[in-house]
Symmetry: C2
Subunit: 203 residues, 2 copies
């Protein structure tokens, strides 16, 4: 995967505009409903411009995902670095970050779930997904280990399994909220269960 | 929702054959890729026969889901009723049931995830999903409460929230396995985390 830092500023700007345009079109039409043409046309790009920046629609989604995950991780890392914050307070703040933009979170849920379904069925998409997830797990794992150390906790399960569990519970809690918005308020299950999970997986 | 027991045997048989045919077509083409015609034609049904049994493709999926959930719950209830089984053994057996038919579980994951995405976007589908999930939560909740009582445990969280958490972790663990079959063996995350979750949510 090409990383943004290897590109010229002009090229970076084009990629960024394509990513923004794509996010909007996916929000409206879904991953499968949005063609490369649908993404290019409103933003005034040609197919050529698209394909000189991304090998495929899949690669673009993977990059959107990577950016989104990095921005969530960055927000959590900043909160975690605040002095004097207790672990329960930190977990509350993580859920605040997770729920602070409901529209974005909903779009995000739909796009990642659609892409995951696609990746279960498609070998290339699955390999790209695996590479990205492995990188995200490494970065999130390092963050979780530093938080644990700061709060004098030892992980009782492998770090990467804990990252998987936390991802499952955040994503699953969001799914329950989107399917039953009145019965499950945004972040309610996450707020209820994150502290229990942390207690169960640390010592 | 019409329940099977209110129907004549002939009608029940027709519904059952339509459900079987639909499950096969969904497995091949996905929920969105399979039209009512696609479901009827190979099984030799007319559209009229379909619509005299189901109001829509959505209603048929809901009934497939209800049947599948009931059969899983029944299998768990039977194991749970075995005398002398410890709680850790019971949890192992639950994961055995959950992983015993990988192809069926995969089809099931794809269909329910596709339908959930549809239900996030579509009001009618979401209402139908909510009615079904509420019934399933009641039944699973009663089973969990009886298992807890049998093992002298008290639930430390609302039963319906616990059902949501367990559903999230089973479905999420399956998703991780399907996306990374080599890194995550079938049932591995569920086997690792179910006992910890039970310990964290009971006293």
């Amino acid at each position: 995967m090409t990383t943004a830092s290897q590109l010229t500023p002009r090229r970076q700007a084009t990629r960024a505009r394509l990513l923004t345009a794509a996010a909007e079109v996916f929000a409206e039409r879904g991953f499968h409903g949005a063609s490369v043409e649908d993404i290019c046309e409103p933003a005034g790009f040609t197919r050529g411009a698209f394909y000189s920046n991304f090998a495929s629609k899949d690669e673009l989604v993977i990059e959107l995902y990577a950016e989104h995950a990095a921005s969530l991780r960055q927000a959590i890392a900043e909160v975690a670095a605040q002095p004097g914050l207790t672990l329960p307070d930190l977990l509350e703040r993580v859920v605040d970050i997770w729920t602070r933009d409901p529209d974005e979170r909903r779009r995000w849920y739909l796009l990642t779930t659609e892409f995951a379904l696609h990746a279960v069925r498609d070998d290339d998409a699955r390999r790209a997904w695996q590479r990205l997830q492995s990188q995200i797990r490494k970065e999130l794992g390092a963050l979780i280990e530093s938080i644990a150390a700061r709060h004098d906790l030892e992980l009782a399960v492998p770090t990467s399994d804990l990252v998987r569990l936390l991802t499952i519970v955040l994503q699953g809690g969001l799914g329950q909220h989107l399917l039953e918005p009145r019965a499950v308020r945004a972040g309610a299950l996450e707020r209820e269960f994150l502290p229990l999970l942390v207690e169960a997986t640390t010592r």
